[in-house]
């Protein structure tokens, strides 16, 4: 695995990524990690040490709900789903994120008027 392309996620972004992935449908922890890795084209690798505390935190905040179902391999796994609150939170945070990246991008590219 090529490790040079990897970087640390800014604080709080992991929660956003998890919510985004879970928004696609009911999914268990391992698959969430895989999906983030795939979608980021292997640039992001989520450590179990941060994934599971984040999942439990989101569950505690009632953004996620969970239940036990049989996985594709037939073993029982804990599947997470987005709650209504989670969906609203994701929407708000996504908007925040794109506004933030736009503004930061503007400044960093130096095209802001007056510079």
């Amino acid at each position: 695995m090529n490790t040079t392309d990897k970087f640390d996620l800014p604080q709080g972004t992991l929660d956003l990524l998890i919510l985004r992935v879970v928004a696609l449908g009911s999914i268990h922890g391992y698959a969430i990690a895989q999906r983030i890795q795939q979608m980021s084209r292997e640039a992001l690798q989520v450590q179990q040490g941060s994934l599971y505390p984040a999942l439990h935190r989101l569950e505690y905040k009632k953004f996620l709900s969970a239940n036990w179902k049989a996985s594709e391999t037939g073993r029982e796994a804990k599947f997470y789903e987005l709650t209504a609150a989670g969906r609203a939170h994701l929407k708000a945070e996504t908007e925040n994120w794109s506004r933030l990246t736009d503004v930061v991008g503007l400044i960093l590219k130096g095209t802001l008027e007056g510079i």
């Binding site: 922890g29 179990q48 040490g49 505390p53 439990h56 796994a77």
Partner: protein, 908 residues
Amino acid sequence: MSWLRRVFARKRLEMDLDKELRFHFETQVAEKVKTGVAESEARRLTRMEFGGMEQVKEDCRESRGTLWLEYLVQDIRFGLRQLVKSPGFTSIALLSLALGIGANTAIFTLVNAILLRPLPVENPNELVLFGDGGAQGLTFSVPEGRWQLFSDSFLRDFRHQATSYSGIAAVNSTQSVIKASIAGSAYQTAHVDLVSGSYFSVLGVPAFLGRTLVESDDSAPGAGPVAVASYGWFESHLNGDKSALGKTIRIQAQDYTLVGVARPGFSGVTVGQSADLWIPFCMNKEISPGLPKPDSKFFQSLHLIGRLKPDVKPGQASAETNLLFKQIMRDYLGPNPSQKHLDDIAHASIELTLGSRGISPLRLLFSLPLKILMTIVGLVLVIACANIANMLLARGVARTREIAVRMALGASRGRIVFQLLAESALLSAAGAVAGIALAWKASTLLLRMATPGLNPVPLNLAPDLPVLAFTLGLSVLTALLFGCLPALRATGLEFTPALKDGRGSSSVSARGNLARSLIVGQIALSVLLLVTAGLFVRSLIHLTSIETGFDKRNVLLFYLDSSTAGLPHHSPDEIRSVRLQEQIESRVQAIPGVQSDSFAFFTFNTGAWSDLVLFQGVPRTPENGQEVYFNNVGNGFFSTMGIPLVAGRAFSAQDNQNSPKVAVINESMARRFFPNGLAVGHRFGVGETPDHPGEIEVIGVVKDAKYTALDEGSLFAAYFPCAQNVGFYGNFAVRYAPGANRQEILSRVRSSIAETNPNILVDGVSSLDEQVDQSIAAQSLIARLTSFFGVIAVFLACIGIYGLLSYSVARRTCELGIRLALGAQSRMLLWLVLRESLVLLAIGLAIGVPISLGSTRVLKSLLYDLSPLDPMAISTAIVAVVVMTMAAAWLPARRATRINPIQALRAE
């Protein structure tokens, strides 16, 4: 609540967490195996990637947000185990906490009930009381100074004109304790409040059943023979039977219709005096037929409570009230008032006070004593906390190694402090529970002791919300107070030396100055508490050694009720009351063992009646212008009370309705009016300007005797014979021979009364010495309580010193052993150990004595004939503290001298 569920479903959560992570692990391994890695290698790689399954789990638990609660449960369990492991420490700590918190709760219960609790009425904050409610009774005087009592006609005239109030309620300042018969059943005692028709509507108290009183019930004298019952009386005397409405209640010779029951919880506006029945004030003449001039505009016996209109400021109301008061009073004086009366009214005023907590003579009486007691029990609790803190410090030192090990294994300091605090919280919570149980009983007992008498003061002392909140706050505060410093101290250690050190021993400084300053503080506070106790005890001794002027031994007192006897009032026939008294007197006189007996208006501390007098030929001067206290007595009064006659004669059968009016006066009065001669034979009239000048002739002079209280100054007193001041006077005193059978005399007096007239009921029996004791019950209770708490304080301080020195001797066993081996004398060792406590004692005294000297001034008004700087009380307190602390220090010091050097050296 889901977080609560999580704590209880902890096992399932743990299993789920384990299962979830295991699934991830296994799936990852399976993926690796699929790409061709050997299974054992795949497991090794995955485990490395996971990096510590337990750490991940702990992070998950933390992110669940309930970890603190799980910790708390753990900590409480651990704390309980720790406390059970050291029963000695636990029981001393619990005992001192239960006592400390219990005493505080008990006193606060009284403070709450007497000083703080608002009336259960609508918007109590809008209510204002006219005056401070300190005066009770009936006065015909023209108002002067701060006025407290008002007449019914003043209420009507004032209400008519005043604009500041949405309504004004009135209640008779004295409650009528009277016999009532419901629908012809047996007579029972009832407490009747005479109130204005506006009473219930102004207070906003609705009826539970039927209706309350309305204006039309109180429209004209005698026009409202109706009664409203309190809910409590309705339950106890009418069994809560709703059909009781409309029943007849007979009081004196009048029938009243029960028209309603007031809302549960409301029992009147006077704290410590609940009403059973409310009757319109217009029935005053029927309820108290013996009172003179009931229709006078100056028949002033009411307390007034006004409800301010929402937009009216108290200042505005006060201005309007005083203006109207003076105008109305001026009108009452008629067309030709005397200049003195005009001056009096000009200087009279009504002070509006907070009405939200009702009228409370108890409050005026006990406000300062309760505040002082509250401070004292607060200080006792602080001392108890210091003690527990000291014991915890010692335990902290003993547990140094345990704590060092736990911290070395990765426990955070916060976590350990929290755990140690949980232990403290457990202690104080247990102390609080025990304290509340103790306080519940204690506060009732204290109230009973402070206000002895035939009937207990009705005050609800069950722990209510404010009391429980107070105790909860107190226990949290105490836990922090005694738990915080030791916990911080125990965890603020340096690892390496702590771990290197042997089990159970540690460096000297670990306890050091903190423990010493706690003990110094304890000693200083003990001195303060003992000085206070000493002052109250000395003041009580002064009070009890006051010469009463009468002989309080061997006198029985009977309180008689004549309201069911149908005696005539305001008619020539009224003399029948006196005949009845004389019959009882002569019957009782015949009982073997009875020396003398007499009826009286008042005995001692049972009330007062006073007015000015004017002697013929003696001009009024400031020296003789003070009020004279009157009493109506039977012919045997002076011999029954043991008041010696110094000149002239006492009353006899020749002083009757038809003979000239006579009086016996006391020495103070005789000496002040006739400094150079005999008083006997002179004549006076009653009143400022007597209606019948000189109608009463002085026939005798008696020694001064106390009238209302032991600590009253020398009063002028005049006694009149009952036969010339007709009425039935309920106090009956019987003197029996020393050594006579008191019980037998008591029952024979009862039967003599019943034989004479079965409708004269005995309300209660007491004795003159009991009555004297009861008059200083509050003072003696304060003296006893402060002494009790003072002794507890010193005792706790001694435990502290004993513990500190025992510990220090145990720690220095080796050093002391070496000293002994090298030839030190045991006297030197004794000194070595004692020196430490002497220094603490000296500093404690140096702080405590000046504090005491500076703060006892607040007690001044409660001390009888004693300076708050009484050297006797202060030196006794100092000696007591010195002796007690030295005794506490002596025991461990002795132990130091008995160390066997060989054993001490081997032990290390």
